[in-house]
Protein backbone atom coordinates (compact mmCIF):
# COMPACT_ATOMS: atom_id res chain seq x y z
CA UNK A 1 0.00 0.00 0.00
CA UNK A 2 1.37 3.38 -0.97
CA UNK A 3 1.31 6.28 1.41
CA UNK A 4 -1.88 8.37 1.38
CA UNK A 5 -1.71 12.06 2.15
CA UNK A 6 -4.81 13.45 0.43
CA UNK A 7 -7.25 10.55 0.61
CA UNK A 8 -6.13 9.18 3.98
CA UNK A 9 -9.36 10.43 5.55
CA UNK A 10 -11.63 9.87 2.57
CA UNK A 11 -13.15 6.70 4.03
CA UNK A 12 -14.29 8.38 7.28
CA UNK A 13 -18.04 8.70 7.44
CA UNK A 14 -19.23 12.29 7.40
CA UNK A 15 -15.77 13.71 6.55
CA UNK A 16 -17.56 16.26 4.38
CA UNK A 17 -18.73 18.00 7.57
CA UNK A 18 -16.56 20.39 9.51
CA UNK A 19 -16.95 18.68 12.90
CA UNK A 20 -15.85 15.28 11.63
CA UNK A 21 -13.01 16.78 9.61
CA UNK A 22 -11.81 18.79 12.59
CA UNK A 23 -12.05 15.83 14.98
CA UNK A 24 -9.80 13.90 12.61
CA UNK A 25 -6.99 16.39 12.67
CA UNK A 26 -8.41 18.91 10.22
CA UNK A 27 -7.29 22.55 10.28
CA UNK A 28 -4.08 21.66 12.16
CA UNK A 29 -2.16 23.00 9.16
CA UNK A 30 -3.93 26.37 9.48
CA UNK A 31 -3.08 26.58 13.18
CA UNK A 32 0.53 25.73 12.39
CA UNK A 33 0.75 28.15 9.46
CA UNK A 34 -0.52 31.11 11.44
CA UNK A 35 2.39 30.71 13.84
CA UNK A 36 4.82 30.94 10.91
CA UNK A 37 5.96 33.86 8.77
CA UNK A 38 4.37 33.76 5.30
CA UNK A 39 7.82 33.58 3.68
CA UNK A 40 8.63 30.49 5.74
CA UNK A 41 5.52 28.74 4.42
CA UNK A 42 6.68 29.47 0.87
CA UNK A 43 10.09 28.01 1.82
CA UNK A 44 8.39 24.87 3.16
CA UNK A 45 6.50 24.44 -0.13
CA UNK A 46 9.74 24.93 -2.08
CA UNK A 47 11.43 22.25 0.01
CA UNK A 48 8.58 19.83 -0.65
CA UNK A 49 9.31 19.80 -4.37
CA UNK A 50 5.55 19.92 -5.04
CA UNK A 51 4.81 20.34 -8.74
CA UNK A 52 1.59 21.80 -10.13
CA UNK A 53 -1.00 19.03 -10.30
CA UNK A 54 -3.12 20.61 -13.03
CA UNK A 55 -1.00 19.29 -15.86
CA UNK A 56 2.04 21.48 -16.42
CA UNK A 57 4.01 20.16 -13.42
CA UNK A 58 5.67 23.51 -12.68
CA UNK A 59 7.24 23.72 -9.18
CA UNK A 60 4.63 25.35 -6.93
CA UNK A 61 7.09 26.95 -4.50
CA UNK A 62 8.87 28.66 -7.39
CA UNK A 63 5.56 29.91 -8.82
CA UNK A 64 4.74 31.36 -5.40
CA UNK A 65 8.10 33.07 -5.08
CA UNK A 66 7.51 34.89 -8.40
CA UNK A 67 4.50 36.70 -6.94
CA UNK A 68 5.14 40.45 -7.07
CA UNK A 69 4.47 42.33 -3.85
CA UNK A 70 4.18 46.05 -4.62
CA UNK A 71 3.10 48.23 -1.68
CA UNK A 72 -0.59 48.93 -1.37
CA UNK A 73 -1.68 46.61 -4.20
CA UNK A 74 -4.00 43.67 -3.53
CA UNK A 75 -2.73 40.18 -4.26
CA UNK A 76 -4.97 37.30 -5.24
CA UNK A 77 -4.95 33.55 -4.97
CA UNK A 78 -7.25 31.81 -7.45
CA UNK A 79 -7.96 28.11 -7.27
CA UNK A 80 -8.31 26.50 -10.67
CA UNK A 81 -11.20 24.03 -10.32
CA UNK A 82 -12.10 24.18 -14.00
CA UNK A 83 -11.23 20.52 -14.40
CA UNK A 84 -12.06 19.77 -18.06
CA UNK A 85 -9.27 17.73 -19.60
CA UNK A 86 -10.86 14.53 -20.94
CA UNK A 87 -9.95 11.64 -18.66
CA UNK A 88 -9.53 13.89 -15.62
CA UNK A 89 -12.00 13.85 -12.71
CA UNK A 90 -9.80 13.90 -9.62
CA UNK A 91 -10.45 17.46 -8.43
CA UNK A 92 -14.15 16.74 -8.51
CA UNK A 93 -13.59 13.89 -6.06
CA UNK A 94 -11.58 16.04 -3.65
CA UNK A 95 -14.14 18.85 -3.70
CA UNK A 96 -17.17 16.60 -3.55
CA UNK A 97 -16.05 14.34 -0.74
CA UNK A 98 -13.32 16.14 1.24
CA UNK A 99 -14.14 19.83 0.63
CA UNK A 100 -12.51 21.00 3.87
CA UNK A 101 -9.12 19.73 2.70
CA UNK A 102 -9.25 22.23 -0.16
CA UNK A 103 -10.59 25.01 2.05
CA UNK A 104 -7.83 24.37 4.59
CA UNK A 105 -5.19 24.39 1.84
CA UNK A 106 -6.66 27.63 0.51
CA UNK A 107 -6.52 29.36 3.89
CA UNK A 108 -2.87 28.38 4.43
CA UNK A 109 -1.95 29.41 0.88
CA UNK A 110 -3.89 32.69 1.10
CA UNK A 111 -1.98 33.54 4.28
CA UNK A 112 1.36 32.61 2.70
CA UNK A 113 0.66 34.74 -0.38
CA UNK A 114 -1.23 37.57 1.31
CA UNK A 115 -4.53 37.08 -0.50
CA UNK A 116 -7.49 38.54 1.37
CA UNK A 117 -9.98 37.64 -1.33
CA UNK A 118 -9.52 34.17 -2.73
CA UNK A 119 -11.60 32.69 -5.52
CA UNK A 120 -12.35 29.11 -6.48
CA UNK A 121 -13.16 29.08 -10.19
CA UNK A 122 -15.10 25.86 -10.73
CA UNK A 123 -16.38 24.49 -14.03
CA UNK A 124 -20.05 25.36 -14.46
CA UNK A 125 -21.19 21.76 -14.87
CA UNK A 126 -20.08 20.86 -11.32
CA UNK A 127 -23.12 22.81 -10.13
CA UNK A 128 -23.92 20.65 -7.11
CA UNK A 129 -20.34 20.85 -5.87
CA UNK A 130 -20.70 24.64 -5.59
CA UNK A 131 -23.23 24.01 -2.79
CA UNK A 132 -20.85 21.59 -1.05
CA UNK A 133 -17.97 24.09 -1.18
CA UNK A 134 -20.13 27.00 -0.03
CA UNK A 135 -21.33 24.92 2.90
CA UNK A 136 -17.71 24.11 3.83
CA UNK A 137 -16.75 27.79 3.55
CA UNK A 138 -19.67 28.77 5.79
CA UNK A 139 -18.55 26.20 8.37
CA UNK A 140 -14.95 27.44 8.24
CA UNK A 141 -16.22 31.00 8.76
CA UNK A 142 -18.26 29.91 11.74
CA UNK A 143 -15.25 28.14 13.25
CA UNK A 144 -13.20 31.32 12.92
CA UNK A 145 -10.78 30.02 10.27
CA UNK A 146 -12.09 32.53 7.73
CA UNK A 147 -13.31 36.10 8.03
CA UNK A 148 -11.75 39.03 9.84
CA UNK A 149 -8.70 38.78 12.08
CA UNK A 150 -8.39 34.99 11.79
CA UNK A 151 -7.15 33.40 15.05
CA UNK A 152 -6.16 36.86 16.29
CA UNK A 153 -3.41 37.22 13.70
CA UNK A 154 -4.86 40.33 12.09
CA UNK A 155 -5.14 38.48 8.79
CA UNK A 156 -8.48 38.76 6.95
CA UNK A 157 -9.52 36.29 4.32
CA UNK A 158 -12.67 35.30 2.49
CA UNK A 159 -13.15 32.56 -0.10
CA UNK A 160 -15.72 32.86 -2.90
CA UNK A 161 -16.83 30.22 -5.38
CA UNK A 162 -17.19 31.37 -8.98
CA UNK A 163 -19.00 29.10 -11.44
CA UNK A 164 -17.80 28.94 -15.03
CA UNK A 165 -20.23 28.20 -17.82
CA UNK A 166 -18.82 25.48 -20.01
CA UNK A 167 -15.45 26.29 -21.59
CA UNK A 168 -12.39 24.02 -21.41
CA UNK A 169 -10.20 26.99 -22.31
CA UNK A 170 -10.90 28.57 -18.91
CA UNK A 171 -8.61 25.94 -17.38
CA UNK A 172 -5.77 27.94 -18.97
CA UNK A 173 -4.84 30.36 -16.20
CA UNK A 174 -5.09 33.65 -18.09
CA UNK A 175 -8.36 32.61 -19.78
CA UNK A 176 -9.62 31.73 -16.31
CA UNK A 177 -8.76 35.23 -15.07
CA UNK A 178 -10.51 36.81 -18.06
CA UNK A 179 -13.57 34.70 -17.31
CA UNK A 180 -13.44 35.61 -13.63
CA UNK A 181 -13.44 39.25 -14.71
CA UNK A 182 -16.71 38.57 -16.54
CA UNK A 183 -15.34 38.29 -20.07
CA UNK A 184 -14.96 35.70 -22.80
CA UNK A 185 -12.32 33.12 -21.92
CA UNK A 186 -9.66 34.33 -24.33
CA UNK A 187 -6.13 33.59 -23.06
CA UNK A 188 -3.86 36.61 -22.61
CA UNK A 189 -0.50 37.12 -24.23
CA UNK A 190 2.30 36.43 -21.74
CA UNK A 191 4.31 38.20 -20.43
CA UNK A 192 3.13 39.82 -18.26
CA UNK A 193 2.52 36.68 -16.24
CA UNK A 194 -0.29 36.54 -13.65
CA UNK A 195 2.34 36.72 -10.87
CA UNK A 196 2.87 40.33 -11.95
CA UNK A 197 -0.41 41.24 -13.66
CA UNK A 198 -3.23 38.82 -13.02
CA UNK A 199 -6.75 39.29 -11.70
CA UNK A 200 -7.81 42.96 -12.02
CA UNK A 201 -4.21 43.65 -13.12
CA UNK A 202 -2.99 42.69 -9.63
CA UNK A 203 -0.33 40.07 -8.79
CA UNK A 204 -2.06 36.68 -8.79
CA UNK A 205 -1.24 33.05 -8.22
CA UNK A 206 -3.42 30.45 -9.94
CA UNK A 207 -3.09 26.87 -8.63
CA UNK A 208 -4.95 23.63 -9.26
CA UNK A 209 -7.28 22.10 -6.62
CA UNK A 210 -5.03 19.11 -5.93
CA UNK A 211 -1.95 21.35 -5.64
CA UNK A 212 -3.65 23.51 -3.02
CA UNK A 213 -4.97 20.48 -1.13
CA UNK A 214 -1.40 19.10 -1.02
CA UNK A 215 -0.31 22.20 0.91
CA UNK A 216 -2.09 20.74 3.96
CA UNK A 217 0.03 17.56 4.32
CA UNK A 218 3.15 19.55 3.40
CA UNK A 219 2.54 21.86 6.36
CA UNK A 220 1.60 18.97 8.62
CA UNK A 221 4.58 16.70 7.96
CA UNK A 222 7.02 19.36 6.72
CA UNK A 223 8.39 19.99 3.24
CA UNK A 224 11.46 17.83 3.71
CA UNK A 225 9.44 14.82 4.81
CA UNK A 226 7.06 15.31 1.86
CA UNK A 227 10.00 15.40 -0.56
CA UNK A 228 11.18 11.99 0.70
CA UNK A 229 8.07 10.35 -0.75
CA UNK A 230 8.32 9.40 -4.41
CA UNK A 231 11.30 9.28 -6.74
CA UNK A 232 13.65 12.08 -7.82
CA UNK A 233 11.78 15.22 -8.82
CA UNK A 234 8.42 13.41 -8.59
CA UNK A 235 7.84 14.09 -4.93
CA UNK A 236 4.81 13.41 -2.79
CA UNK A 237 1.63 11.70 -3.91
CA UNK A 238 -0.42 12.21 -7.05
CA UNK A 239 -4.08 11.57 -7.72
CA UNK A 240 -4.73 9.53 -10.82
CA UNK A 241 -8.21 9.34 -12.32
CA UNK A 242 -8.40 6.09 -14.21
CA UNK A 243 -11.03 5.35 -16.86
CA UNK A 244 -11.73 3.52 -20.09
CA UNK A 245 -11.48 -0.24 -20.38
CA UNK A 246 -10.43 -1.23 -16.86
CA UNK A 247 -12.15 -3.22 -14.15
CA UNK A 248 -12.00 -0.54 -11.47
CA UNK A 249 -12.29 2.98 -12.83
CA UNK A 250 -11.93 5.68 -10.20
CA UNK A 251 -9.55 7.90 -8.24
CA UNK A 252 -6.28 6.53 -6.91
CA UNK A 253 -3.63 8.22 -4.83
CA UNK A 254 -0.21 6.92 -5.78
CA UNK A 255 3.11 7.72 -4.17
CA UNK A 256 4.95 7.68 -7.51
CA UNK A 257 6.94 4.54 -6.76
CA UNK A 258 4.81 2.05 -8.71
CA UNK A 259 5.10 0.88 -12.31
CA UNK A 260 2.49 1.53 -15.00
CA UNK A 261 1.99 -2.23 -15.29
CA UNK A 262 1.24 -2.55 -11.60
CA UNK A 263 -1.14 0.39 -11.80
CA UNK A 264 -3.15 -1.18 -14.61
CA UNK A 265 -3.13 -4.80 -13.50
CA UNK A 266 -2.96 -4.86 -9.73
CA UNK A 267 -6.19 -5.20 -7.75
CA UNK A 268 -5.20 -2.29 -5.55
CA UNK A 269 -5.57 0.00 -8.56
CA UNK A 270 -7.29 -0.51 -11.95
CA UNK A 271 -7.69 -4.27 -11.52
CA UNK A 272 -6.82 -5.21 -15.09
CA UNK A 273 -8.86 -5.15 -18.27
CA UNK A 274 -12.40 -6.56 -18.35
CA UNK A 275 -13.34 -9.78 -20.12
CA UNK A 276 -9.77 -10.95 -20.47
CA UNK A 277 -9.13 -8.46 -23.26
CA UNK A 278 -5.63 -7.30 -24.11
CA UNK A 279 -4.27 -3.84 -23.56
CA UNK A 280 -4.00 -1.92 -26.81
CA UNK A 281 -3.06 1.60 -25.85
CA UNK A 282 -3.22 4.20 -23.11
CA UNK A 283 -3.25 7.95 -22.71
CA UNK A 284 -1.61 8.30 -19.30
CA UNK A 285 -2.06 11.99 -18.47
CA UNK A 286 -5.27 13.42 -19.89
CA UNK A 287 -6.34 13.60 -23.53
CA UNK A 288 -3.68 16.14 -24.57
CA UNK A 289 -0.70 13.93 -23.90
CA UNK A 290 0.57 11.41 -26.46
CA UNK A 291 -1.17 8.04 -26.70
CA UNK A 292 1.19 5.08 -26.29
CA UNK A 293 0.81 1.55 -27.64
CA UNK A 294 0.98 -1.21 -25.01
CA UNK A 295 4.60 -2.13 -25.70
CA UNK A 296 5.88 1.43 -25.22
CA UNK A 297 3.55 2.07 -22.30
CA UNK A 298 4.81 -0.70 -20.05
CA UNK A 299 8.46 -0.44 -21.00
CA UNK A 300 10.62 2.39 -22.24
CA UNK A 301 12.64 2.02 -25.44
CA UNK A 302 15.64 1.21 -23.28
CA UNK A 303 13.71 -1.78 -21.99
CA UNK A 304 13.23 -0.35 -18.51
CA UNK A 305 9.98 -0.72 -16.63
CA UNK A 306 7.93 2.46 -17.08
CA UNK A 307 7.02 3.98 -13.75
CA UNK A 308 4.17 6.27 -12.74
CA UNK A 309 6.44 9.30 -12.30
CA UNK A 310 6.76 12.58 -14.20
CA UNK A 311 10.18 11.55 -15.50
CA UNK A 312 9.51 7.94 -16.45
CA UNK A 313 6.23 8.68 -18.26
CA UNK A 314 8.11 11.30 -20.28
CA UNK A 315 11.08 9.01 -20.96
CA UNK A 316 11.80 8.93 -24.67
CA UNK A 317 10.26 12.33 -25.33
CA UNK A 318 7.32 12.45 -27.70
CA UNK A 319 8.94 9.90 -30.02
CA UNK A 320 8.42 7.00 -27.61
CA UNK A 321 7.17 8.53 -24.36
CA UNK A 322 4.26 10.57 -23.04
CA UNK A 323 3.54 12.75 -19.99
CA UNK A 324 2.08 12.64 -16.48
CA UNK A 325 -0.06 15.65 -17.38
CA UNK A 326 -3.18 15.95 -15.23
CA UNK A 327 -3.20 12.28 -14.23
CA UNK A 328 -6.17 11.43 -16.45
CA UNK A 329 -5.40 7.79 -17.26
CA UNK A 330 -7.39 6.49 -20.26
CA UNK A 331 -7.06 2.81 -21.14
CA UNK A 332 -8.04 1.34 -24.53
CA UNK A 333 -8.51 -2.41 -24.93
CA UNK A 334 -7.92 -4.43 -28.08
CA UNK A 335 -11.42 -3.77 -29.45
CA UNK A 336 -11.04 0.00 -29.52
CA UNK A 337 -10.43 2.05 -32.61
CA UNK A 338 -7.66 4.61 -32.33
CA UNK A 339 -8.96 6.55 -35.36
CA UNK A 340 -12.39 6.96 -33.81
CA UNK A 341 -10.97 7.85 -30.41
CA UNK A 342 -8.68 10.45 -31.96
CA UNK A 343 -11.63 11.83 -33.92
CA UNK A 344 -13.59 12.44 -30.70
CA UNK A 345 -10.59 14.25 -29.22
CA UNK A 346 -10.19 16.39 -32.35
CA UNK A 347 -13.88 17.27 -32.10
CA UNK A 348 -13.38 18.18 -28.45
CA UNK A 349 -10.53 20.60 -29.21
CA UNK A 350 -12.39 22.13 -32.16
CA UNK A 351 -15.36 22.72 -29.87
CA UNK A 352 -13.19 24.20 -27.14
CA UNK A 353 -10.89 26.41 -29.23
CA UNK A 354 -11.57 30.02 -28.24
CA UNK A 355 -11.01 31.15 -31.83
CA UNK A 356 -8.38 33.81 -31.14
CA UNK A 357 -5.48 32.25 -33.07
CA UNK A 358 -5.95 31.15 -36.69
CA UNK A 359 -3.78 28.00 -36.53
CA UNK A 360 -5.93 26.61 -33.71
CA UNK A 361 -9.32 27.95 -34.84
CA UNK A 362 -8.93 26.71 -38.43
CA UNK A 363 -6.61 23.77 -37.77
CA UNK A 364 -8.73 22.00 -35.15
CA UNK A 365 -11.81 22.05 -37.39
CA UNK A 366 -9.79 20.88 -40.37
CA UNK A 367 -8.28 17.98 -38.42
CA UNK A 368 -11.70 16.92 -37.17
CA UNK A 369 -13.10 16.92 -40.70
CA UNK A 370 -10.26 14.79 -42.08
CA UNK A 371 -10.45 12.34 -39.17
CA UNK A 372 -14.21 12.13 -39.67
CA UNK A 373 -13.68 11.28 -43.33
CA UNK A 374 -11.10 8.60 -42.55
CA UNK A 375 -13.27 7.09 -39.81
CA UNK A 376 -16.33 6.97 -42.07
CA UNK A 377 -14.56 5.42 -45.06
CA UNK A 378 -14.09 8.56 -47.13
CA UNK A 379 -10.41 9.11 -46.43
CA UNK A 380 -7.50 9.29 -48.85
CA UNK A 381 -3.94 8.10 -48.22
CA UNK A 382 -2.70 11.68 -48.62
CA UNK A 383 -5.02 12.75 -45.77
CA UNK A 384 -2.71 11.11 -43.25
CA UNK A 385 0.24 13.26 -44.30
CA UNK A 386 -2.03 16.28 -44.47
CA UNK A 387 -3.13 15.64 -40.87
CA UNK A 388 0.49 15.42 -39.81
CA UNK A 389 1.21 18.67 -41.61
CA UNK A 390 -1.71 20.52 -40.00
CA UNK A 391 -0.92 19.42 -36.45
CA UNK A 392 2.73 20.41 -36.88
CA UNK A 393 1.65 23.91 -37.90
CA UNK A 394 -0.67 24.36 -34.93
CA UNK A 395 1.90 23.28 -32.36
CA UNK A 396 3.84 26.20 -30.93
CA UNK A 397 2.01 28.77 -33.03
CA UNK A 398 -0.75 29.85 -30.68
CA UNK A 399 -1.07 32.21 -27.71
CA UNK A 400 -1.94 29.43 -25.28
CA UNK A 401 -1.20 25.69 -25.01
CA UNK A 402 -4.62 24.60 -26.31
CA UNK A 403 -3.08 24.51 -29.78
CA UNK A 404 -0.39 22.09 -28.58
CA UNK A 405 -3.00 20.09 -26.67
CA UNK A 406 -5.01 19.68 -29.88
CA UNK A 407 -1.98 18.81 -31.99
CA UNK A 408 -0.28 16.24 -29.75
CA UNK A 409 -3.01 13.56 -29.67
CA UNK A 410 -3.27 13.59 -33.47
CA UNK A 411 0.50 13.48 -33.91
CA UNK A 412 0.92 10.58 -31.46
CA UNK A 413 -1.94 8.60 -33.00
CA UNK A 414 -0.33 8.84 -36.43
CA UNK A 415 3.15 8.23 -35.06
CA UNK A 416 2.22 4.98 -33.33
CA UNK A 417 -0.87 3.78 -35.21
CA UNK A 418 -0.26 4.87 -38.78
CA UNK A 419 -1.09 1.40 -40.09
CA UNK A 420 -4.53 1.65 -38.50
CA UNK A 421 -5.20 4.91 -40.35
CA UNK A 422 -3.98 3.30 -43.59
CA UNK A 423 -6.18 0.28 -42.99
CA UNK A 424 -9.20 2.58 -42.68
CA UNK A 425 -8.34 4.24 -45.98
CA UNK A 426 -7.67 0.95 -47.82
CA UNK A 427 -10.67 -0.91 -46.39
CA UNK A 428 -13.42 1.70 -46.14
CA UNK A 429 -16.25 -0.81 -45.96
CA UNK A 430 -14.56 -3.21 -43.61
CA UNK A 431 -13.65 -0.29 -41.31
CA UNK A 432 -17.35 0.45 -40.84
CA UNK A 433 -18.02 -3.04 -39.55
CA UNK A 434 -15.11 -3.89 -37.32
CA UNK A 435 -12.15 -2.35 -35.59
CA UNK A 436 -8.56 -2.77 -36.61
CA UNK A 437 -7.78 -5.17 -33.83
CA UNK A 438 -4.67 -5.78 -31.84
CA UNK A 439 -2.86 -8.42 -33.86
CA UNK A 440 -2.02 -6.02 -36.66
CA UNK A 441 0.01 -3.42 -34.95
CA UNK A 442 2.34 -4.68 -32.31
CA UNK A 443 3.69 -7.74 -30.68
CA UNK A 444 1.00 -8.87 -28.29
CA UNK A 445 2.70 -8.52 -24.96
CA UNK A 446 3.14 -11.25 -22.48
CA UNK A 447 1.93 -9.28 -19.52
CA UNK A 448 2.75 -10.45 -16.06
CA UNK A 449 1.27 -8.85 -13.01
CA UNK A 450 3.94 -7.12 -10.99
Amino acid sequence: MGRKLLLDKAHIEGIRNYDVYRRNGGYAAVEKAFKMAPADIVEEVKKSGLRGRGGAGFPTGMKWSFLAKPEGVARYLVCNADESEPGTFKDRYLMEFIPHLLIEGLIVSSFALGSNRTYIYIRGEYAWIVDILEQAIAEANQAGFLGKNILGTGFDCQIYVQRGAGAYICGEETALLESLEGKRGNPRIKPPFPAVKGLYDCPTVVNNVETLAAIVPILNIGGEEYAKIGVGRSTGTKLISACGNINKPGIYEIDMTISVEEFIYSDEYCGGIPNGKKLKACIPGGSSVPILPANLLLKTVKGEKRMMTYESLADGGFATGSMMGSGGFIVLDEDQCVVRHTMTLARFYRHESCGQCSPCREGTGWMEKILHNIEYGKGKMSDIDLLWDIQSKIEGNTICPLGDAAAWPVAAAIRHFRDEFEWHVLNPEEAQKRNFGLAHYADPLEVSVA
Binding site: A74, E83, S84, E85, P86, G87, T88, F89, R92, R117, R123, G124, E125, Y126, A127, W128, Y160, Q162, R163, G164, A165, G166, A167, Y168, S179, L180, E181, G182, K183, R184, G185, Y200, S241, A242, C243, G244, N245, P249, G250, I251, I283, S287, G328, I330, L332, Q336, R340, H341, T344, L345, R347, F348, H351, E352, C354
Partner: protein
Protein backbone atom coordinates in the same frame (compact mmCIF):
# COMPACT_ATOMS: atom_id res chain seq x y z
CA UNK B 1 -38.86 39.07 -17.29
CA UNK B 2 -38.05 40.42 -13.83
CA UNK B 3 -36.08 39.18 -10.84
CA UNK B 4 -38.07 38.66 -7.63
CA UNK B 5 -37.10 40.59 -4.49
CA UNK B 6 -35.42 37.47 -3.18
CA UNK B 7 -33.40 37.03 -6.37
CA UNK B 8 -32.41 40.70 -6.33
CA UNK B 9 -31.00 40.14 -2.86
CA UNK B 10 -28.99 37.24 -4.24
CA UNK B 11 -27.77 39.50 -7.07
CA UNK B 12 -26.54 42.03 -4.53
CA UNK B 13 -24.82 39.31 -2.54
CA UNK B 14 -23.02 38.10 -5.67
CA UNK B 15 -21.84 41.61 -6.62
CA UNK B 16 -20.36 42.04 -3.14
CA UNK B 17 -17.99 39.13 -3.73
CA UNK B 18 -15.80 41.36 -5.89
CA UNK B 19 -13.82 44.51 -5.14
CA UNK B 20 -15.57 47.81 -5.72
CA UNK B 21 -15.94 48.72 -9.36
CA UNK B 22 -15.35 45.14 -10.49
CA UNK B 23 -19.02 44.17 -10.69
CA UNK B 24 -18.54 42.87 -14.24
CA UNK B 25 -17.12 39.77 -12.53
CA UNK B 26 -20.70 38.98 -11.54
CA UNK B 27 -21.69 38.51 -15.17
CA UNK B 28 -21.35 34.72 -15.40
CA UNK B 29 -23.16 34.04 -12.09
CA UNK B 30 -25.94 36.46 -13.03
CA UNK B 31 -26.41 34.87 -16.43
CA UNK B 32 -26.79 31.50 -14.67
CA UNK B 33 -29.39 33.06 -12.40
CA UNK B 34 -31.25 34.68 -15.30
CA UNK B 35 -31.26 31.41 -17.24
CA UNK B 36 -32.78 29.59 -14.26
CA UNK B 37 -35.47 32.26 -13.90
CA UNK B 38 -36.24 32.20 -17.61
CA UNK B 39 -37.07 28.50 -17.99
CA UNK B 40 -33.60 27.29 -18.88
CA UNK B 41 -32.57 29.69 -21.63
CA UNK B 42 -31.39 33.25 -22.15
CA UNK B 43 -33.65 35.49 -24.19
CA UNK B 44 -32.41 38.89 -25.34
CA UNK B 45 -34.69 40.36 -22.69
CA UNK B 46 -33.02 38.26 -19.99
CA UNK B 47 -29.55 39.30 -21.14
CA UNK B 48 -30.58 42.97 -21.26
CA UNK B 49 -31.88 42.69 -17.71
CA UNK B 50 -28.47 41.43 -16.57
CA UNK B 51 -26.75 44.22 -18.51
CA UNK B 52 -28.89 46.77 -16.65
CA UNK B 53 -28.15 45.26 -13.24
CA UNK B 54 -24.40 45.42 -13.82
CA UNK B 55 -24.39 48.70 -15.74
CA UNK B 56 -22.88 47.02 -18.80
CA UNK B 57 -23.60 47.62 -22.47
CA UNK B 58 -25.83 44.84 -23.81
CA UNK B 59 -23.14 43.80 -26.30
CA UNK B 60 -20.77 43.03 -23.41
CA UNK B 61 -23.35 40.54 -22.16
CA UNK B 62 -24.13 39.03 -25.58
CA UNK B 63 -20.48 38.40 -26.38
CA UNK B 64 -20.07 36.49 -23.14
CA UNK B 65 -23.35 34.58 -23.38
CA UNK B 66 -22.44 33.34 -26.87
CA UNK B 67 -18.98 32.18 -25.78
CA UNK B 68 -19.94 29.69 -23.06
CA UNK B 69 -21.71 26.49 -23.99
CA UNK B 70 -23.88 26.25 -20.87
CA UNK B 71 -25.93 29.30 -21.82
CA UNK B 72 -28.82 28.25 -24.03
CA UNK B 73 -29.69 30.92 -26.53
CA UNK B 74 -32.93 29.30 -27.62
CA UNK B 75 -35.69 27.62 -25.63
CA UNK B 76 -35.10 24.10 -24.34
CA UNK B 77 -37.44 21.39 -23.06
CA UNK B 78 -38.42 21.02 -19.43
CA UNK B 79 -35.70 18.38 -19.11
CA UNK B 80 -32.39 18.88 -20.87
CA UNK B 81 -30.33 15.75 -21.52
CA UNK B 82 -26.70 16.65 -22.19
CA UNK B 83 -24.91 13.44 -23.12
CA UNK B 84 -21.11 13.39 -23.12
CA UNK B 85 -19.57 12.03 -26.32
CA UNK B 86 -15.82 12.62 -25.80
CA UNK B 87 -13.21 9.81 -25.98
CA UNK B 88 -13.50 8.18 -22.55
CA UNK B 89 -17.32 8.10 -22.74
CA UNK B 90 -17.14 6.87 -26.36
CA UNK B 91 -14.99 3.92 -25.19
CA UNK B 92 -17.79 2.97 -22.81
CA UNK B 93 -20.64 3.19 -25.32
CA UNK B 94 -21.88 6.80 -25.36
CA UNK B 95 -22.68 6.48 -29.09
CA UNK B 96 -25.17 3.72 -28.31
CA UNK B 97 -26.75 5.78 -25.51
CA UNK B 98 -27.17 8.81 -27.78
CA UNK B 99 -28.76 6.64 -30.48
CA UNK B 100 -31.04 5.01 -27.92
CA UNK B 101 -32.30 8.36 -26.62
CA UNK B 102 -32.83 9.63 -30.17
CA UNK B 103 -34.95 6.60 -31.01
CA UNK B 104 -36.80 6.53 -27.73
CA UNK B 105 -37.75 10.22 -27.84
CA UNK B 106 -37.94 10.37 -31.63
CA UNK B 107 -35.78 13.49 -31.83
CA UNK B 108 -32.37 14.37 -33.22
CA UNK B 109 -29.49 15.96 -31.36
CA UNK B 110 -30.33 19.60 -30.63
CA UNK B 111 -34.08 18.96 -30.92
CA UNK B 112 -36.95 19.10 -28.44
CA UNK B 113 -39.88 16.66 -28.22
CA UNK B 114 -43.15 18.06 -29.54
CA UNK B 115 -44.64 18.13 -26.02
CA UNK B 116 -41.78 20.40 -24.93
CA UNK B 117 -40.65 17.88 -22.31
CA UNK B 118 -37.19 16.78 -23.46
CA UNK B 119 -34.26 18.31 -25.31
CA UNK B 120 -31.28 16.21 -26.35
CA UNK B 121 -27.82 17.74 -26.66
CA UNK B 122 -24.40 16.20 -27.03
CA UNK B 123 -21.64 17.81 -25.00
CA UNK B 124 -17.89 17.48 -24.60
CA UNK B 125 -16.18 15.98 -21.55
CA UNK B 126 -17.97 16.70 -18.25
CA UNK B 127 -15.36 15.19 -15.94
CA UNK B 128 -17.13 11.93 -15.17
CA UNK B 129 -14.94 9.68 -17.33
CA UNK B 130 -14.73 6.90 -14.74
CA UNK B 131 -18.49 6.67 -14.47
CA UNK B 132 -19.21 6.64 -18.21
CA UNK B 133 -21.42 6.77 -20.15
CA UNK B 134 -23.09 9.75 -18.55
CA UNK B 135 -25.16 12.85 -19.04
CA UNK B 136 -26.00 16.04 -17.22
CA UNK B 137 -29.64 16.64 -16.36
CA UNK B 138 -30.20 20.01 -14.74
CA UNK B 139 -27.91 20.45 -11.77
CA UNK B 140 -26.87 16.81 -11.46
CA UNK B 141 -25.07 14.04 -13.33
CA UNK B 142 -26.66 10.73 -14.34
CA UNK B 143 -23.85 8.21 -14.61
CA UNK B 144 -23.27 4.56 -15.63
CA UNK B 145 -26.06 4.93 -18.20
CA UNK B 146 -27.67 1.90 -19.81
CA UNK B 147 -30.81 1.78 -22.00
CA UNK B 148 -32.75 0.55 -18.93
CA UNK B 149 -31.47 3.43 -16.82
CA UNK B 150 -32.40 5.90 -19.57
CA UNK B 151 -35.94 4.42 -19.60
CA UNK B 152 -36.18 4.88 -15.83
CA UNK B 153 -34.96 8.47 -16.01
CA UNK B 154 -37.46 9.36 -18.73
CA UNK B 155 -40.33 7.70 -16.83
CA UNK B 156 -39.37 9.55 -13.68
CA UNK B 157 -39.28 12.89 -15.52
CA UNK B 158 -42.73 12.25 -16.95
CA UNK B 159 -44.12 11.25 -13.54
CA UNK B 160 -42.65 14.33 -11.83
CA UNK B 161 -44.00 16.60 -14.56
CA UNK B 162 -47.48 15.02 -14.31
CA UNK B 163 -47.50 15.47 -10.52
CA UNK B 164 -46.51 19.11 -10.79
CA UNK B 165 -49.26 19.89 -13.26
Amino acid sequence: MKFSEEKLKKVQEIIERYPEGKQKSALLPLLHLAQEENGGWLSVEAMDLVAGLLQLKPIEVYEVATFYSMYNLKPVGKYLFEVCQTGPCMLKGSDEIINYIKKKLDIGVGETTSDGMFTLKTVECLGACGYAPMMQMGKYYKEHLTPEKVDQIIDECRRTAAQNN
